[in-house]
């Protein structure tokens, strides 16, 4: 298919962003939103799927150990902490799997410390753990990482502020406008109710950020399993060519 042909074909529209499912730009409980969140109303822009491509990447963009954070930064041994499996399915609004899409992940180590140079939290770094990984979803939209359960850590947002244990995830989906950066949390974490990133998210949808513990995913004698499924914006209708 030449790109000139694809341009002249009638293009389906992207499903709209479901605003009630997302936090607002300014939420004073999360202090730094106050000087950074836009204050003017957004200008509507009806994007067609043709204009807003996803970036191109392939299996060559992914290293053999990129999905395994327990191995991808070893120097002199295994990273410390509780091994865990994080897996899930990436779907669009219409419950169709999002195949072959890039999932990038980063997180603190078991002590709640990030490798990042500006993280000054007084907790030890782990010489055998970087905390970054990536993979592509398979033909059913599934992804899978092996990692170490991240620790909670303090931050300066308000007195005695602690981030609940969480893992950052970045996804592209099928279009530039389906881009999602989010965080997954752990079931039963007592810090969730005190976290402004959670309380800044509409109450009705907060549970979509909390993974399930799964004994089925857990590997006996090896690692606990957590399931975190992710829903991205997709096409409003099936593209014409695929009907």
């Amino acid at each position: 298919m030449s790109s000139s042909a694809s341009r002249s074909a009638p293009l389906p529209r992207l499903a709209p962003r479901d605003w009630p499912s997302h936090p607002s730009y300014v939420y004073p409980g999360y202090r730094s939103t106050v000087k950074r969140g836009p204050q003017q109303p957004l200008v509507p822009l009806k994007a067609s799927l043709g204009e807003l491509r996803q970036p191109v990447y392939g299996h060559s963009s992914i290293g053999e150990l990129d999905h395994d954070l327990t191995r991808n930064a070893r120097r002199n041994g295994e990273p410390l902490g509780e091994r865990m499996i994080l897996t899930g399915q990436v779907l669009d609004d219409r419950r169709r799997p999002v195949r072959n899409t890039l999932v990038e992940l980063w997180q603190a180590n078991a002590s709640g410390r990030y490798v990042h140079k500006v993280d000054q939290h007084d907790a030890p770094l782990d010489p055998n753990f970087l905390g970054a990984g990536r993979c592509l979803t398979d033909s059913e939209g599934r992804y899978r990482f092996l990692t170490i359960k991240p620790g909670a850590y303090p931050w300066g947002n308000h007195p005695n502020a602690w981030r609940p244990q969480h893992i950052h995830l970045s996804l592209f989906g099928e279009h530039f406008a389906s881009r999602l950066v989010t965080q997954m949390y752990f079931p039963g974490d007592p810090l969730l109710q005190h976290d402004p990133m959670i309380t800044g998210t509409p109450e009705k949808v907060r549970n979509r950020l909390i993974s399930d513990f799964s004994l089925d995913v857990t590997e006996e004698g090896y690692a606990l399993g957590y399931v975190f499924d992710i829903v991205l914006r997709g096409a409003d209708e099936t593209p014409f060519e695929n009907r």
């Binding site: 730009y25 999360y30 950074r36 822009l45 491509r53 191109v56 930064a73 419950r95 530039f176 950020l209």
Partner: protein, 201 residues
């Protein structure tokens, strides 16, 4: 399916990229021992189009440059074409997508090496699509980067026309030339009297 989605299916809420994305999303740029799938080089030698440098700062409501923002851009090449695959991108030297953090430049600029895009369709002015993410935003923003030397095309562009006239200039990058190199400057103001126009895409 995860239990929350069984009873409450819908889009996964966005959360902030936070202050510590550097070693995860832009590891090579920030000097960490991990590679990154996208960087600030969008076009290699041989890509179709005029070679340009696209630079700017992301500025907060106090007028201070933000040193932990992440900017991602997507654009066609100088002929208005996107690569259709990784092999295509490799053959043409044009990647169409770039990513740059603002924490490694001494002026906290993002700096992309790319080509000036061609118009994707008749009646549309050439532009680059951009996403801006940072600590302090639970949800990223979308904007567009148009070009100061395209006044005639900009005047006919339907998206620019949909923007209040007084704010249109926030979407136009300023061209300068020095020693044969072309630079476009595009500062992104998150707030204030010159707040950049962000789109509900």
């Amino acid at each position: 399916m995860m239990s929350a989605l069984e009873t409450n299916f819908g889009q996964t809420p966005s959360q902030t990229v936070g202050p510590y994305f550097a070693y995860g999303l832009t590891a090579t740029q920030y000097g960490y021992d991990f590679d990154q799938p996208f960087d600030a080089v969008v076009a290699l030698d041989g890509a179709r189009g005029e070679r340009i440098r696209l630079e700017g700062r992301v500025i907060d409501g106090d007028g201070n440059p933000i040193n932990d923002a992440l900017v991602e851009i997507s654009q066609p090449d100088g002929s208005g074409e996107y690569p259709q695959s990784v092999d295509d991108a490799r053959a043409t030297g044009f990647r169409a997508f770039g990513r740059c953090g603002t924490g490694t430049d001494d002026q906290n600029r993002f700096v992309f090496h790319t080509v000036k895009p061609g118009a994707e369709s008749a009646g549309e002015a050439p532009h680059i699509n951009a996403i801006v993410l940072m600590r302090g935003m639970l949800l990223h923003v979308f904007t567009r980067i148009y070009f100061s030397d395209e006044a005639a095309a900009n005047a006919k562009d339907a998206v620019l026309a949909s923007v209040p006239e007084a704010r249109r200039n926030t979407l136009v990058a300023t061209r300068s030339e020095a020693g044969g190199a072309v630079t476009y400057r595009f500062d992104i103001h998150m707030q204030g009297p010159s707040e950049t126009v962000f789109f509900d895409v």
